[in-house]
Amino acid sequence: MRHLTKAAVLVGAAAVVLSACGTAADNDDSDDNADGQQCEAVELEGDPQVALAYDVGGRGDQSFNDAAYAGLERAQTEFGFEGTEGEAASDESEEVREQRLRGFADDGYNVIVGVGFAYSESVDKVAPDYPNVSFAVIDGFDPTEDDVNCNVAYLTYAENEGSFLVGVAAAETTESNTVGFVGGVNNPLIQKFEAGFKAGVEEANPDAEVVTTYIEESDPRGFGDPAGGQAAAEGLINDGADVIFHAAGASGIGVFDAVTSADLWAIGVDSDQYLTASPEQQPHILTSMLKRVDVSTYDFIAAAFDGEPLSGYTEFTLADEGVDYSTSGDFLPADLVTEIDDYKQQIIDGDLEVPAEP
C-alpha cells in the first residue's frame, strides 16, 4: 500500500515536472540558455543505482574515461554502492548506444552517466521514456533546445580557461618563441582548448607564435592514435615549436614520445599526466591542463544521493576547480607559478575574458 501511495506521489510529481517543462518551452523567453532552471528535481524511485556508459576507449585510457571512473570510485567509497559500466565501440550505431542506456534503466539503474558528448543525442531520445531516471552527459549539449528534458544534466567545462593558464606557462618557457598545439579532432570542443591556449600565450608573451595541427578532421580515432600524435608533434617541432600542448586523449602519448626524443617540453591534458607518464617522459612534461571529469562525475552522483539530482547545464570552471593546471614535477619556477595564479585570480574575478573560439 505504501508503494502505491509513493507511486501516486511520483506520478503527480512527474506531471508537475512535465508541465513545468511545457511552459518553459512554450514561453521561450529564456535567451540565456539556462533551460534547467525551470525544472524541478527528478524524483528517483528507490535508492540511487549508478551506471556509467563510457565513450570509445573505455576504462584504461589514462585520460577522459578513466577520470570519469575515478569520480565513480570516489562516490562508491563514500556512498557504498556497486554500480555498473558499459562501453561504446567506435563503429556502433546510434541505436545501439540508446539500447545501452535503456538496458541500464530497465535493469533498475536510475542514475546514468554518458561519458562524452557523443551520448547527447542518445540521452535526449531515451530520457523522456524514463522520467524517474536522472541522466548526465559529460561534455554534453541539448540537441533539441526547444524541448528540454528535465531529467538530464549537461556537465560542461571551461576548457578555454584552463588552457589559458598552460598557455601562459608555455609562453614563459619557450626559448624559440614558438609553441605548438596538437588537437585530436578538429571539432568545436577541441577548438576551445586551442582558443584558450592561444589567448594565454598571446597575453604572456606577445612575441610568441602558436603553431597548430589536428590529427583528424572528424574521426574520433584522433583521440586514440599515438602514432598520429607523434607525427603531428614532430611536424610542429620542425616548425620550431619547443613547447607542445596536446588535447588529443590517448594520442598524447605519441606527443610525449616526440618531445622526449627531441628533448623539449610537452603539456598534458585532462588528468595530471606527469603521474601516469613513463619515467623517460616525465622530465619533459612541463604541466598539465586539468579537466576534472572526476569532480563533475562525483558531484552528479553525490547530488543524486542527496536527493537533489542535477538538471540542465552545469559548467565547471576555474572558480570551482572544474578546470585547473598541475605543478607535478616542479618544472614551473616559483615566479611563473605566481604569474599563472595571478591570471587565474583575474579570470575567476571576471577581470579577464578568455575566448572560447579561435
Binding site: 545501439v96 539500447q99 574521426d219
Partner: protein
Amino acid sequence: MSQLVRRVTQMVTYSIVPTLVAIAAALLATAAIVWISGAPVGGFLEAMLSVPGQRDLVIIVNQASMIALSAFAAAICFRMNIFNIGVEGQYIIGACAGAFFAGSGIVPGPLNILATLVVAMLAGMAWAMIAAVLNVTRGVSEVISAIMLNYVALTLAGYLVKTYGSKSGYTFTTGTIPPSSQPLGFGIFSGAPDVWALSILAVIVAVGYSFLLGWTRFGFDLRTAGESRTAALANGINPKKMVLITMAISGAIAGLVWMPSFFGSTHTFGIPEYFQRGLGFTGLAVALLGRNTSLGIFFGATLFAFLSTQSNRLQSVGVGRDVVEITQGVVVLMVVIAFEISRRVKARREQESVARELGATSEGVRA
C-alpha cells in the same frame, strides 16, 4: 523431383551443417578465450544465446540490411577476383554526397528520396572509379589505392561537412532532410521503433545481384574473368573493361549502404554521432562468410548484426565488448575452415563415386 531432393540434401550436407558446426565451434573457441581472460563463461554463453527483445530485433533487421548492402558491394568484386577493400570509403562518400543533396531539398517531397539514392550511388561509383582507373591504366593494386582512399574519404567528408555544414553541439552536420522527404518505416512491434523503410534496398540489391550474376551474359563474363583473366581474354572478354564496370557497380551499391539509416533515423550526416562507420569492413567479412551468395550474405549479415547487438548484454554480465569482435572473427575463420573441409569431403566422395562407376564399366569391358 528427385533432382530437387538431391539439391536440398546437398545444400544441407555441404552448406548448412558445416555453417552450424562452424558457429558452434566459434562459440566454444570464444568461450575458451573468455574463460582464459577470467570473465564469466556462463554469462557469456547465456548472453550470446539469449533471445533479443523487440527493440533489439528491430535493430538487428536494420543493421543487417546495411551490412548486407555492403557485403553485396564487396561480393560482386570478389566474384571478379578483385579485392575491393574500398567499400568503406565509397559508402562514406556516398553518404556524405547523398546527405548534402537530400538536406538541400532541391527536389521536393518523396522524389527527393529517389534522387538522393541516385546521387549517393553516383558518388560511391565515382570514388570507386579512382581505384579502378588507377588499376587499369597504371597497374596500381586496387587494394593499396582503396585503403588509402578510405582515409582520404573520411577526412574529405569531415572537411566538407565542416566547411559547408552547420554546427550542432560539438559536431558539424549537413542540413536535415525536409519532413516531406522522410519515408515512414515498417511498424512490426507496437512498442518498438519501426524497421527503416529503405532496409528494403538490401532485398532489391540481392535480387538484382543474383539475376545479374546468374542470368545475364555480363554475369557470365564477370565470373569467367574472375576465374581466369587470360581465359577470359582468349574468349573475347576484355578484362580491363570488366574491372571498370564491376568496380562501378560495386561503388554504386556501396553508395547505398548508409541510406537506410539516413532516411530511417539520423536524417543528417555528421561524424561521429550522425554516421555509422566501419560497415564497409564488416561487409567484406560477411561477403566472405556468405560465400558471395545472396542467401549466405543475408545469413551472415543477420548473424553479425545479432552479435553486435548482444554486446550491451555482454557488458552487463561483465564480459568486455571486444569479445564480440573476437567471436565475429572466429566465426569467419571457422566457416572458411568448415567449407574447405566440406569441399574436400565432397570432392573425395565424387571421385570415389566416379571411380566406382568407372571401375564397374572397365570391369564390364574386360569381361
